[in-house]
């Protein structure tokens, strides 16, 4: 039997959850014994296989049209979708901007910033369209929520090793932290 495939992707987050994934250190070899890591921000392949993967992992919330596309693509190609980290689970730190309008936040970022001279809000049609920051579950159904900012390496290892062995991980007690 071939090894189950895992793909990961990164949306509106800080990459900290993927850093935390790398923090499982040499245990990543144990994980790789059991699964095949396909597309991810840390491998060359950037999109989950068209033929599908067993597990899709998403870090970050969904804050524009491009993220929305990423999330829908991952959902359509994976059997089990994991929302990894507080941004994917709740919206997280980026969701702080939801208390303001998009116009206000863009103006703050591109015009009002103290270090900006002659700033303007970019309007290139190729750019993704910003939206309110949403948790992944607001856009596509999520099977497993792994909160944490970031989830610790131990929690990530627990989740991956359970999935690799065909079990749905339970996240509770010491593994449950929203930070």
């Amino acid at each position: 039997m071939s090894k189950p495939k895992i793909a990961t992707d990164w949306m509106a987050g800080c990459a900290g959850c993927h850093m935390s994934l790398l923090d499982i250190d040499e245990r990543i070899l144990q994980v790789l014994d059991l699964v095949e890591l396909r597309a991810s921000p840390i491998t060359d392949l950037k999109e989950a296989d068209e033929t599908g993967v067993a597990v899709g992992v998403l870090e970050g919330g969904i804050n524009n049209s491009a993220n929305e596309h990423q999330a829908k693509l991952m959902r359509s190609r994976c059997k089990i979708l994991v929302a990894l980290g507080d941004c994917a689970v709740f919206g997280g730190v980026p969701a702080m901007r939801n208390f303001f309008t998009i116009e206000e936040t863009l103006k703050r970022a591109y015009v009002d910033t103290e270090s900006t001279v002659d700033g303007f809000i970019p309007t290139d049609p190729e750019l993704a369209v910003p939206t309110k920051v949403r948790a992944v579950s607001e856009v596509v159904p999520v099977d497993i929520h792994v909160p944490g900012c970031p989830p610790s390496a131990d929690v990530i290892f627990h989740v991956l090793s359970e999935l690799a062995q065909g079990r749905i991980p339970e996240i509770k007690d010491d593994n449950l932290h929203w930070h």
Partner: protein
């Protein structure tokens, strides 16, 4: 007793017990948020819902009293679903994103409740309506976005402190915590006691000093007592790496039951004085850093020739903030060994000396502070419990809603005026005339001339007399600092009046060890007279203007002190000593309870405790110190029985 069955556990509990408390007796945990042991049950948050056999719907455990043969289930699917639903609704109401919240980690009761239910996420996102942040208060911040509307703060402000500053405005999702009629906290009637901050289950009320400086898991907690005044409130000193992080009221403390005033909770955090970290000796007119050995040698060279000189030797003063041990050693050194006629305390017996005189004749006559909560009428005279000994003021204020009539008598408007219709302003220094008038009024005699002297109307006197006459367990809270010429007579009149209407007498006295100093008779009015040197054991007390004036012309001045002050600037030798957090020692409360303050912080390297310094001086005087302070404070009759 009634029989109940909770999750298959059968037990008997007293009638009237709530389901929540019955479950606690059975060691069954029911989650709560709005409930707090120090407050009346409220039933606001609905997280404690349980299934009761025969009941149509789930019932809140915190407010529901048990009935006989009640069958309660706390762990059914229905209950668990309801809990999660309630939590989801709370989380989605405002900004409850944990990563950037001060209490996230171990200190948030909302987060802990979600963890206990194994919630990995919440199903409904908030509606992103921003709420204001009120940062107008000097000691804490009110972050409405973190508020879960449990009203613990509102109830604590009312039930525990009796101040009624906090309340709620609007309805539904617009409900918002307000101070007074919607003014910023900083300009409200808030008295900064901080009980609301201590009782808040989330990060909605954040104390400025302790915020982000460590949570329960990072810090050490030392139970101790507050030395801000003589009530002896129990506190928890929270510290980390020898830094003071926060002071909380000790919920288990018998005296205060968790509440504190701003003097106990926030003042020590706001310490701005400079610390003295090394002995100082005056050389060529200026204070220079020195060693303990040199400094003590200079002190002993001065003291040794003065041993035995009664009125031209050493005058000495000790702070009543210092522990009983230090007070007793001090007395032995300066009174018994050196034989000086001027050995006293910084309080100079102001609040206590006359009480001892009366007690010597008629025995102990005061009652415990806790009697206030049993009172059906309270008269306060000679003090303002909203300024000093504030926690006693909380005790008085919080019984007013129970229908207790409170009569504060003072020379000017006081913080009590808004809470009782019986505030009475009398002419300055006419406490005696007022009490005589009241006494006469109770006897049904003519009071017009006395009343006009005191500046009160006869009608007002009649009203007060009526209240006191009707009361079955009235309490007089007084301060012995009446007009000095009439002091003894005033107190005698007060006692006579109390006896007549069977009232209990309570006086909160002065600083932390006021009564211990009095029992050691360190209670003289200080006069320099012909003394050639002055020794002041100041500890961490700030010297009063009065003391500074009296010490203006000291020929030679030794000061033991923790902080730089106008007094240390004048000293010839300064001996650096530990502050109140840096030693353990015993204190006698104003109502005679002996309590131990526990050391929580380590003093700087070259700083000794006052006790150590006094023992060192005793040693150099070749005298043996009697350590039995607890016997010594009971040698004389006390105004109140000492435990």
């Amino acid at each position: 007793m009634v029989k109940v069955k909770i999750d298959e556990k059968e037990l008997e509990v007293p009638e009237g017990t709530t389901v929540l408390n019955a479950a606690r007796l059975a060691d069954i945990e029911i989650p709560t948020l709005c409930d707090h042991p120090a407050l009346e049950p409220y039933g606001g948050c609905r997280i404690c819902l349980v299934e009761v056999e025969g009941a149509r719907t789930l019932q809140p455990a915190c407010t529901l009293p048990v009935f006989d043969k009640m069958v309660i289930k706390t762990q059914t699917d229905k209950v668990k679903e309801a809990r999660k639903f309630v939590l989801s609704m709370i989380f989605s109401e405002r900004n409850h994103f944990c990563p950037y919240c001060q209490v996230s980690g171990t200190d948030c009761e909302l987060q802990n409740a979600a963890y206990a239910e194994g919630m990995t996420h919440w199903p409904i996102q908030p509606n992103w309506q921003p709420y204001p942040v009120d940062a107008s208060h000097p000691y804490f911040v009110l972050e409405h976005n973190r508020c879960i509307l449990c009203r613990r703060c509102v109830r604590a402000c009312a039930e525990l402190v009796g101040n009624y500053t906090l309340g709620m405005e609007e309805r539904g999702s617009n409900t918002i915590l307000i101070a007074d009629l919607g003014v910023p906290l900083g300009s409200s009637s808030c008295i900064s006691c901080g009980v609301c901050v201590q009782i808040c289950p989330t990060g909605a009320l954040i104390d400025r000093w302790s915020a982000y400086r460590g949570q329960t898991k990072d810090v050490t907690t030392t139970k101790s007592i507050c030395v801000g005044c003589s009530l002896g409130c129990g506190i928890e000193v929270i510290h980390r790496d020898n830094n003071l992080i926060k002071i909380n009221g000790d919920w288990d403390a018998p005296i205060n039951g968790g509440v504190l005033c701003d003097v106990g909770r926030f003042l020590p955090m706001d310490e701005k004085r400079s610390r003295i970290v090394t002995p100082l000796v005056r050389k060529n007119g200026a204070l220079k850093a020195s060693t303990w050995d040199e400094a003590l040698r200079v002190v002993m060279d001065k003291l040794n020739p003065l041993v035995g000189k009664k009125d031209d030797g050493v005058a000495s003063i000790i702070s009543t903030r210092l522990p009983a041990e230090a007070l007793f050693y001090f007395k032995q050194i300066f009174k018994e060994k050196i034989n000086s006629d001027m050995v006293t305390s910084t309080e100079e017996g102001r609040y206590t000396a006359v009480l001892s005189e009366i007690a010597a004749d008629k025995g102990s006559f005061e009652s415990k502070l806790s009697e206030i909560s049993n009172a059906d009428a309270v008269l306060t005279i000679g003090l303002d419990l909203t300024k000093d000994h504030q926690v006693a003021g909380f005790f008085v204020k919080r019984i007013i809603p129970k229908g207790v009539n409170v009569i504060p008598v003072s020379y000017e408007a006081s913080g009590m005026d808004g809470f009782t219709p019986y505030s009475t302003v009398i002419n300055r220094s006419t406490d005696l005339e007022f009490l005589q008038a009241l006494d006469a009024e109770i006897d049904g005699k003519d009071v017009s001339s006395l009343a006009s002297k005191a500046g009160v109307s006869v009608d007002q006197l009649a009203q007060i007399a009526e209240i006191l006459r009707k009361a079955e367990s009235s309490v007089f809270v007084y301060d012995a600092e009446f007009d000095s010429k009439k002091k003894k007579e005033t107190i005698a009149t007060l006692i006579k009046l109390a006896e007549k209407i069977n009232a209990k007498l309570i006086s909160p006295k002065g600083k932390a060890n006021s009564l211990a100093a009095e029992q050691l008779r360190l209670n003289k009015s200080f006069e320099l007279n012909g003394h050639q040197a002055v020794f002041v054991a100041l500890g961490d007390e700030e010297p009063s203007q009065n003391l500074l004036k009296k010490l203006d012309n000291s020929p030679f001045l030794v000061v033991m002190a923790s902080y730089e002050s106008a007094l240390t600037a004048k000293a010839d030798v300064v001996l650096p000593v530990a502050n109140w957090l840096e030693y353990s020692g015993n204190y006698v409360t104003s109502d005679g309870q002996v309590q131990k303050a526990n050391k929580s912080l380590q003093a700087p390297a070259d700083v000794k405790t006052s006790e150590e310094v006094l023992l060192e001086i005793a040693d150099r005087l070749r005298m043996v110190i009697n350590p039995l302070w607890n016997k010594a404070i009971k040698m004389e009759t006390s105004v109140i029985e000492i435990d």
